[in-house]
Structures are given as structure tokens and as C-alpha cells.
Amino acid sequence: MTSTAQPPIEALTFDLQGETFALEAGLVREVLDLLPETDVPGAPPFVSSVINFRGRVIPLVDLRLAFDMVAAAPTVHSRIVVIEHELDGEPTLIGLRADKVHEVTAIDPAVTEDAPRVGMQWRADFIRRLARRDGDLIVIPDLEQIFAARGKSGAVVTPLFGPSS
């Protein structure tokens, strides 16, 4: 992926508890204000409810729970980002909670890198790339992995000195 003239990635950025995340703009269908939610009893907290999105019933995913953050009460800035993504082989519309949605930006692939194996609190396979911007980090999540694991974070911290320590 190091390559010479890779075109920049058009991405929608949004915040979750102070971290900035980015999604390829092509995935995004719509950004919505909060809608009435219907809880699904028995569903995991990661995807605890459904919403009515233009006559369709779509699941509402809280990515925070995949990244070991706690669910938070909505604010005036809270939005729902509706994306279309494969789920178990079926293209599915999925709503993602966001604390705040920013502009669409171009991310130069040259400033992105793989998630480091060490020093991460998050499950490394939940992160596709990390991008540097103005001394800050943007997380490009690997939705495939996150959805397949149903958002179970199970924080994998790579120990520095083996299991014995």
C-alpha cells in the first residue's frame, strides 16, 4: 500500500468520545439527525436498537462499544451516519451513532499506516489504517471485522514481556 501516486481517499470524518474516525465517503448514504429508536430485547449493546430509515427498519450500531468506550447520552451534535455495508454477505443499510459529524476530507494514502501491533488498547484487527493529520490521528475502522465480531472488543493488549510477567 505504500505506493507512488495513490489517489487520495475521500472520507467522512466523525467523532466518538474525542477520537476521530473516518469512513470512505462511498459507503455513506446519508447523515441523519437522531430518530426515535426501538430497542430490540436481547440484542447485544453494540447494536441494541433499530430505527425507521425511510420506511426501512435498519440496525443502529454503536461503534464506541467496539473501541472500549462507554455509551454516552446524545447531545445536540449527535447524528446517525447511514452506510451501506455487507453483513454476512448481504448488502445491508446500517446506522452508526456519531457524537459529531465533520466534513468530507481527502486523506492521502501516503500519510496512513497500519495499526501498530504494540501500544494499542483496541483490537488491532478492528482498525484498517491510521491516518496522521495535524499531529492528530484519524482511525479508519475495519467495519468488516467489527461487524463480523459483532463489536466484541475484548481489548487485546499485546503484553511486552510475555504472559508470565
Binding site: 426515535p36 436481547g42 447485544p44 449493546p45 433499530v50 425507521n52 420506511g55 427498519v57 453483513l87 461487524f147
Partner: protein
């Protein structure tokens, strides 16, 4: 709407062709000398080869070519369409299917198939070759004189038929004089250059018979006008002495005019002709689904409008709302009909299955079908395929006896399996009947005791005993033969049927056979439901499973903390508190209601806070995330835009049996 990918188009076409060829082959087993069938199979193979090559499916084209060659020899009467040949070509079809779908298909396997094909053709050939030689000398070694007159349909050129190669082929048969008939050519101003206005008069002197001439026109014969007349006295003999395979049709001198009016041909994969002529439109299935979604949304919007109108005093608004309500419901009904497809589509697939089963089990099996015209929702039909395959396998594998056993029992050697469908109200009843040995009660009981499903010696009614077959964990060892494939038990079949909101029932008479009946609702898309409230959430209970609603009196409520039972007309009915199950966390309403539902054989009460009323429920599927929860079969959108979940009564009751523990998060 995007244009369709040509490769995808080819795959669809190939799928249809393969099905047609398959049906033709299976018909050939019973009528091995029927000319129409042989031609239909040959044409199918030829078209498949041609379009395969056109779309770059070279391996498929090359492979199909060999089968086509074999069938060309059948057509020429050199090789009989023996059961062996049919079996090999059927196996080859599976290979072609894999190639067409782009699945990995092993070359070695393909080669093995071709070798077998070669072998079958080679061993069969000498037997018939003498007979095949017979027809040409029918005219005492002399030459036949034929007068041929043919014309093509006006749009033949547009469809890619070219008259010149046809004429060239005729010339190859013998001495030939061709005169074009220009009578039908219109005046210049009316002339359409892309239409074919010519007809041809051909005098042909050839050692060949009528069949050879008809073969020239094989691919266009359905739509064209063709007269072949013998103009020497010796000619009639040819027709009589034509090889055995010929006599079914075309002995009349005025040969085939437009398409297949005779029923047998139409049945034998002659769909192409019908397709060209009929005024039907092919629509990709997902567009229908989209439309159904739109109609669903319309119904929802309409119910909002109705609410608004009801609370308004504007008479004009009310009138419009009523009008829209009527239109929406008509639209919904029309849409349902559009989605209906005849079950023949599904039944057709099982002929192949029976053929293979007969071969693998060494039993003679006759399949007959009834009510193929019965229509069901497209999605339902697709989801019925697997359970039916399983039930048919069961019938063939366990139900039917071996030919020896049948003879000993005084039954005809060939076992009968009857697949029947009929509509009964808003349901379709599908039955699978076999005339085999019937269910061995003693074995079922022994098995169930062994698996701990019942206590040894437990008293059971006959129907309860038979019902055990569908219990999870009951599977006779023999079920997991290679025939039953994935080793799914009858419990999976039952669950699938219940997933379609249907029911399954088994009856059986020892020594005479068994009947499995499936009752399936006509459509999955919209159901009548009862809308209830539990805590803050609203839920839909399918009305078809609701028996009655009663109030849960405070003392019953209090008394039942230890045991969740109410007495209903002298019967004890267990109940489930949905509030507890859904862990809704709010205090219960003072006047809770019990909705009594029928789940399989059981009656169970569901305790809810409030009954909100009837609801026309447009079913929306839940995503993969929530399908795992199990308690809900879908969701629907209410008049106020909110979402209500639809309860899956079967699995709800099953989870309730594990006592009122709240549904636990899967994660």
C-alpha cells in the same frame, strides 16, 4: 436502473437452458424415441454451446460440444437415447452448471464424464447402426426428388437467421435448383429493409430422406413455413421407412407451420417459442422486491393519513383518505399476485432428484405431481426447496421398500411418490405421499427413549408418537446417509416450515405409506397482526396464532409468582411474562392482559401491558445483527413512523420453556 451485466444475462439464460435440457432428458427416460424431445435436447445443447462461446465461457462451450455431438448421433438414429446415456448427460449437465456459474470445476472430472459419454455412445452405437443405415436406401438406391417451399417469418433477419447458409446446406444434400418467390415483396415505399419478404422454391434431387431436409431447418422450424413434397412416385416409401425414432410427428406432407401447438412439445422444453410469442415481461426479482417495499411504504403512509383524517373534521380530507385506503389495498393485492409463481417451478426440480435417488438406492421410483399450477409467493417457493428435497429423500430412502420387499408385500415394484399442491383459503397445502412401508412406531419409540425424548413406557397417542420425528435430537441413524446429505434432521425441516409461518404434519399407515402435509401461508410480505404494548415497546403478534385474549386479574397475577399458570375453561395454560422476558424494567400496568397463542401443539399465554388492536403488518426483515436474537421474526413500521418488532411465537415459546429468564445479550 443499471443495465444488466451481459455475463449475468448469459448465466440466467444458461440456467434456463440447463433446466430445459434436464427436463427433456428426464422425459426421454420414459419416451426414449420421441423425436421432439431429442430435438429439444439437441437444440438446447447447441444454443448453450453457442452462447457460451459468445460470452467467453470457452471451457463450457468445449465441454458442451461433446454432449451436443453425442446427441446429434441420437438425433440421426445412430445411437439410442438409452437410460445410460441420459444418466451420463445428466451428470454432464451438473458439470456444465458449475462451469456456467464460474464455480471451480475440476478438469479431470469433466474428462471422466466425457470418457463415460464416449463409452456409452460407443457401446450403444453398433446395435443401432444397422437400423440407422436402413432409411436412405428406401428408394431402391435411387434418388429422391423433393419439392421444398419455405418462407421465414418477417423478423427472421433481425433475429439473426440467415437464409443463405440454409440454402447452402440444402445444396450440400444434392442437386438443387432454387427459385426465389418475390410475390410478397411490397412496393418500394413500403419496403422495410430489415424484413424478410422472400420465399423460396427448391427442387432437390438427393439420396437423403425428409428428415435430412428438416434437419437443415432445425433451428428455425418453429417459426417458419415449410412444405416438403415428394415429386417422384417412390417418395411415400421414404416416410414409412423412416427410422423408428421418427413417426411421432411430421408424416403429414404439410409440415410444421408456426410453433408448437401440440401439447407434448410445449411441455418438453419448447419454452423458447412460447417466450418469443407471448406478451410476458421478464423482470429481475429484486425489482419486484423493491416494488413490494414501495407498496409497503405506501400502506404505512396511508395508515398515517387515515389517522390524520380520523382526527379531522374536514370531510373532503376524509373522502380522499378513504379513496387512498381503497387504492392502497388494491395495489397491495395486485402486487401479491405479481409475486406469485406456479409451484411447477419447484416440482420440476424434483424429477431430477427422483432420478438420482432411484439410481442410488436401486429402487424403482415413480414420481407424479398434482396441482402444479398452484401459486405461491416467490420467496416462499425458494425457501421451500430445501425442506421438500429433504422430505422427498426421506420418502425415497426410508419410506419406500426395495423392489423385492414390495413384491413380497404384493405391491407394484415401482414405489410411488406423489407431490401435490392445492390452495385452501389463504394457505397452500403441499403433500408428499409415498406408498412405502409406513413409519415403524416401535422403532420411533425405541429411538426416542434412547435419546431421552420420552420416558420408557410413557403413554403417547399415535399422533404424539409420530410428532416425535420432528423433535430436535431425534434422528434415526439411517438419516445421515449420503442421500440425506447434510445430515439435517426433520427438526430442521420443521423449523424452516415454521419460519415460513407454516405447519407440518405427518400421518402414516403401517404397510401402506406415509403422508407429510405442509400448510404454508400464501405470502410472507404482509400479515394480519395484533399490536400489543409491553413496557414502552410495541410488538406485533401474528393474528394467525392468536386464540384469545383474557385479562390477568390481580389475584391471578399475585398467586402466579411461583407458577406461571392460569386456568382457562378448566384447562391449565402456562404463560410467559413478556415484560420479564424483555427485561423492560418499568413497573407493570395494573391491568395486564394475556394473549393466548397456539404454538405447535401447545397453548401458551403471553402477558402484555396493553392490547392496541389489529394491525396490517408489512413485514420488514431484520438485519443479520438481530436475526440472531431469535425472538423476533421481523419488524414493521407503524402509522406514527415508529417500529414494532414481530414476535416469533415458536422460538419465543421455546425460550420461555427455559423459564422466564430475560433474553440475554448475545455478546
Amino acid at each position: 436502473m443499471t443495465a444488466q451485466d451481459p455475463v449475468e444475462t448469459f448465466r440466467q439464460e444458461a440456467q434456463e437452458l440447463l433446466e430445459q435440457i434436464e427436463q427433456g432428458l428426464l422425459d426421454l427416460v420414459h419416451r426414449p424415441s420421441e423425436r421432439d424431445l431429442i430435438d429439444a435436447v439437441f437444440r438446447g445443447l447447441h444454443t448453450l454451446k453457442g452462447s457460451g462461446a459468445m460470452f467467453g465461457f470457452d471451457a463450457l462451450a468445449a465441454f458442451t460440444h461433446h454432449c451436443e455431438t453425442a446427441f446429434d448421433r441420437v438425433r440421426k438414429g445412430e445411437v439410442p437415447a438409452s437410460p445410460d446415456l441420459v444418466t451420463v448427460v445428466l451428470a454432464a449437465l451438473d458439470h456444465m452448471r458449475a462451469l456456467a456459474e464460474g464455480r471451480p470445476a475440476s478438469d479431470a472430472e469433466g474428462q471422466a464424464l466425457l470418457d463415460r459419454l464416449q463409452q456409452v455412445v460407443a457401446t450403444a452405437a453398433p446395435a443401432q447402426s444397422v437400423a440407422a443405415e436402413a432409411p436412405p436406401p428406401a428408394t431402391d438406391g435411387g434418388l429422391n426428388h423433393w419439392h421444398i417451399r419455405f418462407s421465414l417469418p418477417a423478423d427472421a433477419l433481425v433475429n439473426g437467421t440467415r437464409p443463405l447458409p440454409l440454402l447452402d446446406e440444402l445444396r450440400e444434400l444434392g442437386e438443387c435448383r432454387v427459385v426465389a418467390i418475390t410475390d410478397a415483396v411490397p412496393p418500394l415505399k413500403d419496403l422495410v429493409s430489415s424484413q424478410c419478404h422472400l420465399a423460396w422454391d427448391v427442387t432437390l434431387i438427393t439420396p437423403h430422406g425428409r428428415d435430412a431436409i428438416e434437419d437443415v431447418f432445425l433451428f428455425v422450424i418453429d417459426d417458419m413455413t415449410l412444405d416438403i413434397e415428394a415429386i417422384t412416385p417412390s417418395a411415400p416409401a421414404t416416410a414409412d421407412a423412416a427410422p423408428e425414432v421418427a413417426p411421432v410427428r411430421d408424416v403429414t406432407p404439410v409440415a410444421a407451420t408456426a410453433s408448437s401447438d401440440d401439447g407434448t412439445a410445449a411441455q418438453a422444453g419448447e419454452g423458447r417459442a412460447a417466450k418469443a410469442g407471448g406478451d410476458t415481461v421478464r423482470v429481475p426479482a429484486e425489482r419486484l422486491d423493491e416494488m413490494m417495499d414501495r407498496v409497503g411504504e405506501l400502506v404505512i403512509a396511508q395508515s398515517r393519513l387515515k389517522q390524520l383524517a380520523a382526527s379531522s373534521s374536514d370531510i373532503a380530507l376524509r373522502a380522499v383518505a378513504e379513496e387512498i385506503e381503497r387504492l392502497a389495498s388494491e395495489m397491495r393485492d395486485t402486487m401479491m399476485v405479481v409475486r406469485m409463481v406456479p409451484i411447477a417451478q419447484l416440482f420440476g426440480r424434483f424429477r431430477r432428484l427422483i432420478h438420482d435417488l432411484a439410481r442410488d438406492t436401486g429402487k424403482a421410483i415413480a414420481l407424479s405431481t398434482e396441482g402444479e399450477g398452484t401459486e405461491l409467493d416467490k420467496t416462499v417457493i425458494e425457501r421451500l426447496a430445501d425442506p421438500l428435497i429433504h422430505l422427498i429423500r426421506n420418502a425415497a430412502d426410508h419410506g419406500l421398500e426395495t423392489p423385492e420387499q414390495r413384491r413380497a408385500a404384493g405391491k407394484p415394484e415401482a414405489g410411488q411418490i406423489v407431490l401435490a399442491a392445492r390452495q385452501s383459503g389463504a394457505e397452500v397445502v403441499i403433500t408428499i405421499t409415498d406408498d412405502g412401508r409406513g413409519v415403524d412406531r416401535a422403532r420411533v419409540r425405541a429411538k426416542a427413549e434412547e435419546n431421552g425424548l420420552i420416558q420408557p413406557g410413557q403413554a403417547l397417542s399415535d399422533s404424539e408418537l409420530l410428532q416425535l420425528i420432528f423433535a430436535p435430537g431425534f434422528s434415526t441413524a439411517a438419516t445421515i446417509t449420503n442421500l440425506s446429505g447434510r445430515g439435517v434432521g426433520m427438526d430442521v425441516v420443521k423449523r424452516t416450515i415454521e419460519g415460513l409461518r407454516g405447519a407440518i404434519e405427518l400421518t402414516s399407515t403401517p404397510g401402506e405409506g406415509s403422508v407429510v402435509s405442509l400448510r404454508i401461508p400464501l405470502t410472507l410480505a404482509i400479515i394480519d397482526g395484533l399490536l400489543v404494548r409491553v413496557g414502552a415497546g410495541r410488538f406485533v403478534i401474528p393474528l394467525s396464532s392468536v386464540e384469545e385474549c383474557v385479562e390477568l386479574s390481580p389475584e391471578q397475577d399475585r398467586r402466579s409468582t411461583g407458577r406461571s399458570l392460569i386456568t382457562l375453561r378448566d384447562q391449565l395454560v402456562p404463560f410467559i411474562r413478556l415484560r420479564q422476558l424483555f427485561a423492560s424494567g418499568q413497573p407493570a400496568d395494573p391491568h395486564q392482559k394475556v394473549v393466548v397463542v397456539q404454538a405447535g401443539q401447545e397453548r401458551v399465554g403471553l402477558v402484555v401491558d396493553q392490547i392496541l388492536g389489529d394491525h396490517q403488518t408489512v413485514i420488514k426483515a431484520l438485519s443479520g445483527f438481530h436475526a440472531e436474537v431469535g425472538a423476533f421474526s421481523g419488524a414493521t413500521i407503524l402509522g406514527d413512523g415508529g417500529v414494532a418488532l414481530i414476535l416469533d411465537i415458536g422460538s419465543l415459546v421455546a425460550s420461555g420453556q427455559r423459564q422466564d429468564t430475560p433474553l440475554r445479550a448475545v455478546g
